[in-house]
Symmetry: C2
């Protein structure tokens, strides 16, 4: 490979640094939250940023994103829904490559979106940097204005990731990626309500999700952890697409 590279005119292949950045989302206390890390060095020293890092010469993009996710959260990544526990959904989001997005050099970042269940152990920082779960409502202002500025173009990336998550739970079963392996219909509804920031009718929601083939599979047991009448527990079914979709109100 090195021999092959040296055979070519260097000016024909301008070198770029390639990184992966992660928009890791979870639902905590009825709020959609994103994982942020504090930067310990310039540029943007002291600012909050999305977790990420350089892609290594011998690894693929999804592989690099999966590695960074594990380093930051301990989660293993899945690209298909229907997993719970120590797994998170991971998919490529978009690539950001404005020439001046990093003042040091030309960096192209392949952003990924991860959806994780609420982590029992927040595990702040896989490599000694401090980390936190920040409610996205505090990061993305009501309009297009951002409340708290993030490092680099990470505010834009976060906004794109949140929008992707909001739209994708409409027509896919991805909302279950925010849930533990077994969950109730009410807990799933709270995920939708937190991600969309709206209230949904519990009765119509129940009829909708239990009536969609392959979305939910009863696990057989029940729980009363939500209070009130015991609720059936479900696991995510094999279906990935929701057809017809779950409709977001106010459209």
């Amino acid at each position: 490979m090195i021999v092959a590279m040296s055979r070519y005119d260097r000016s024909a292949f301008p070198p770029f640094a390639v990184t992966v950045d992660l928009v890791v989302l979870t639902v905590r206390e009825h709020a959609l939250c994103a994982l942020l890390v504090r930067r310990g060095e310039p540029p943007f020293q002291g600012y909050w940023a999305l977790p990420g890092g350089f892609v290594r010469p011998d690894e693929g993009l999804a592989e690099a994103a999966s590695r960074e996710l594990a380093e930051e959260t301990g989660l293993r990544a899945h690209s298909t829904p229907g997993h719970g526990a120590a797994g998170a959904h991971l998919e490529q989001l978009a690539t950001y490559g404005h020439p001046q997005r990093d003042p040091r050099m030309r960096v192209v970042s392949v952003a990924h979106l991860a959806l994780a269940p609420d982590l029992p152990t927040p595990r702040p920082g896989g490599d000694a940097r401090s980390a936190r779960w920040a409610p996205v409502a505090e990061l993305l202002g009501p309009g297009q204005t951002e409340g708290v500025p993030l490092a680099f173009d990470h505010g834009e990336i976060l906004a794109d990731g949140v929008e992707r998550a909001r739209s994708k739970i409409e027509y896919s079963s991805l909302a279950t990626a925010f849930c533990p392996p077994e969950f109730t219909v009410g807990e799933l509804r709270q995920v939708y309500e937190a991600v969309w920031g709206v209230a949904l009718d519990p009765r119509n929601f129940h009829r909708k999700v239990t009536g969609t083939p392959g979305f939910l599979v009863p696990s057989g047991s029940t729980t009363t952890r939500q209070g009130g009448r015991p609720a059936q527990l479900f696991k995510a079914g094999g279906a990935t697409d929701l057809n017809p979709p779950m409709l977001r109100p106010e459209s």
Copy 2:
């Protein structure tokens, strides 16, 4: 650069080449077609490939894609619908970075999707390479098998681009990007039929598209170029999202 590559070092940035590849789609003679160029040099010499090229040190990703599109087709790019004539819709598709996707060196390609109206002048090749519009049905086999192999991982990229286009015309007004500045409801229906490969009921389709606010704006004149009763001409309206969506049959 070669020194840095030979050993991973925290302070170094493993260098990558970054390219843009284009999935340029149009509708010709009732068939969805993709723009291909023939490779004149190894690797994959003589194979058909997607148009593309290296991102320059001082240009952004969308800028590079727009430049390549203009070089290959003469089209100017728009990221919003509602344009016709010499304009094409252009959006980022996904990024492909498998370590061995290019045998020469590590190349990360940011693929873009362009939707263009049928070009009066096919203009085969902006830089002396031969080019052609290939029906995607001949390139992507019935199953997941490809009919004709493309260079590199371009078959996979093309399949992703076609799938993106097929799903995006469901819930956006992007189908108008395949049409000339003024078009009839029947011509728009033929776009949907070509992209999806299905037959749609002309009467229900007419009611649906004319009843969606902001999708179509009457231009005032009529045409008989389709034969039969003269049809109203429309321009693309300002709406970008179709709500409720155009439903793809057989789902």
